[in-house]
Amino acid sequence: MIIFSIDHKVIGKQYIGLALFSVVLGTLLSLIMRFHLVYPDAKVRLFQAMWPDGAPGGQMTPELYLSLMTMHGTIMVFFVLTTAPQSGFGNYFLPLQIGAHDMAFPVLNMLSFWTTALSLLTLLAAFFVEGGAPLSGWTAYPPLSGLGRITGPGEGLGQDLWILSIALFCVASLMAAINFIATIIELRAPGMGYFDMPLTCWGWFVTALISLFAFAVLLAGGILLLLDRTAGTSFFIPGGLIVNDQVQSRSGGSPILFQHLFWFFGHPEVYIAILPGMGLISTVLSVFSGKKVFGYKAMAIALVSIGGLGFVVWGHHMFISGMSPYSSIAFSVLTLAVGVPSAVKTFNWLATLWGGRLRFTAAMHYALGFVSLFITGGITGLVLGQPGLDVYFHDTYFVVAHFHLIMGVAAIFAIFAAFHYWFPLMYGRFLNERLGKVHFFLTFLGVYAVFVPLHFAGFVGNPRRYPDFKEYEFLKSVMPLHIGVTHAAYFLGAVQLIFLFNYFWSQRHGAIAPANPWNAATREWRND
């Protein structure tokens, strides 16, 4: 049966399909948000039709904006960036690359996918219930997320569904992680040692290990939060809260405790999004420079150390939470230490290119774009990793610029590279190379046009997660910049149609690909 297939290739494609659907939805939400930020008073019939309560008379309420923001972030982080690079391409290509017939537990694999799909449906259901989608962002901090309907529309059933969705997602990701790890440990081809695996497999391996520990913690946090909402417990709800003029009866809980649980997951999560991409980019750069990856072993070890360090830096998301300055220093030093393995990777990528016979295919373009974005996005991480600077930048658009460049875009470029590189194996045809390059250049331009200016908004102190800026005198000067960003975002959204067209058109009409068209050395291209 094709729907509940237990074939890793089918499941991989199912994950990719789910991610494609999600990325289209997430992008549309972001465009609506960008529109509202610069035209906060606009009355739009379409909004009124879609959200009669959220946009009475077509005028978007602040709550509607926040709910779009929450859904945008959640969809993108979980259902696109966690799903496509690891579960999508990983499922399809990991067994092929290590010479296994399938994943270690094919039925479990099928269950992971369908649990993920159920999780997505649960999340989307939040749009349709009374009060709409939740307001508390992808990080769902209590008390806002912990008290229920009284804190706003969307904080009722919508927030419950959100937590339920994330809990399901945790379970699905844990099942997937178990499968990946067992597959890599047990099903490598005879004679293939760990250091014989392509770096893509290292990326998936380390990502699976991170998922295993990170999602277990998020699941715990989610369960406690759900109990605070539904069972009257007080894990995270402090005493003496007055919400909408009503005194809340709970006491003793700690919202900061939730932040610790969340970011213990949340920081590793950002690596879950990017490590598979790092692995792939190494392969693509090496294939199209006609050279081996420079410093293969150092690259594998760097992946492991980034993954390991990822578990001891979560405090850098909480510098302003009132933590002791000694803890800040420790978290800061550890955070900056992540720069070391990251730099190892970057220089090895450059050294891989050095002296090679470069072939500028579309996949190669995206890989080079990835390196560029990884540097521009990573450098600002080093800025934010310093408590003195972060106290100012935290919760400004500077952070938004940082994580979009590195996670929102670099990781997505890796996905584009993966499509171009592996399409011949997945569909027997090429993605159109010329369209791919056109799409690359326009997208590359677009992302820098959208996200570089946002750093400057951050300099000015422009807060993030505000539905509009019209009340703030000091932000008047930033409005032209925001208008520019919004238009750049429209442009960026529009040029993605080129990719979508290419993706669907080439499945049927692309040039037929010969076996191993790129002259790659890894196993998935062999016919045996």
Binding site: I178, I181, A182, V217, F235, S254
Partner: protein
């Protein structure tokens, strides 16, 4: 037992251990932060249930899988009885509830796995047993 089954269980155990570690550290932090901690009163018989997983593990060891799964089911039943009497409004009781409920899920899964896969699921079952000793220790001694 195949290597794949063993490795799969070991990895699953790592995830479960992490889950319980997260709940435990949340409890330690939450207890330290506020002055509202009052140890939950588990009935004395709760501590006798420690025998059930031990017995079950022994039955697994000696090849009597059916009885082992039954002992596991008995453990789950006794855990439900404990859950019914816990007060969620007190924070220590709430943590106790979460940890016992989380364990019940593990014990139920472990017993079901024994029934379905036999001795191949032994590793996970032994882990679940050790985990129950840990939970009882938390609330019998530490809390």
């Amino acid at each position: 037992m195949t290597n794949v089954a063993r490795t799969g269980q070991m990895v699953l155990i790592a995830a479960s251990a992490m889950f319980f570690a997260a709940l435990t550290s949340a409890m330690v932090v939450r207890r330290g932060l506020s002055g509202d901690w009052a140890a939950p009163a588990l009935p004395a018989w709760a501590f006798a249930t420690i025998l059930l997983p031990l017995l079950a593990s022994w039955f697994v060891h000696t090849g009597r899988i059916g009885i082992a799964a039954l002992a596991g089911a008995a453990l789950v039943a006794s855990q439900f009885a404990l859950l019914a009497n816990l007060q969620l409004a007190r924070i220590a009781g709430a943590f106790c509830f979460v940890l016992i409920a989380a364990h019940a899920a593990h014990a139920a899964a472990g017993a079901a796995a024994l029934a379905r896969f036999g001795a191949r699921a032994a590793i996970f079952w032994h882990f679940a047993g050790a985990l129950w000793i840990y939970v009882l220790f938390l609330f019998g001694v530490w809390a």
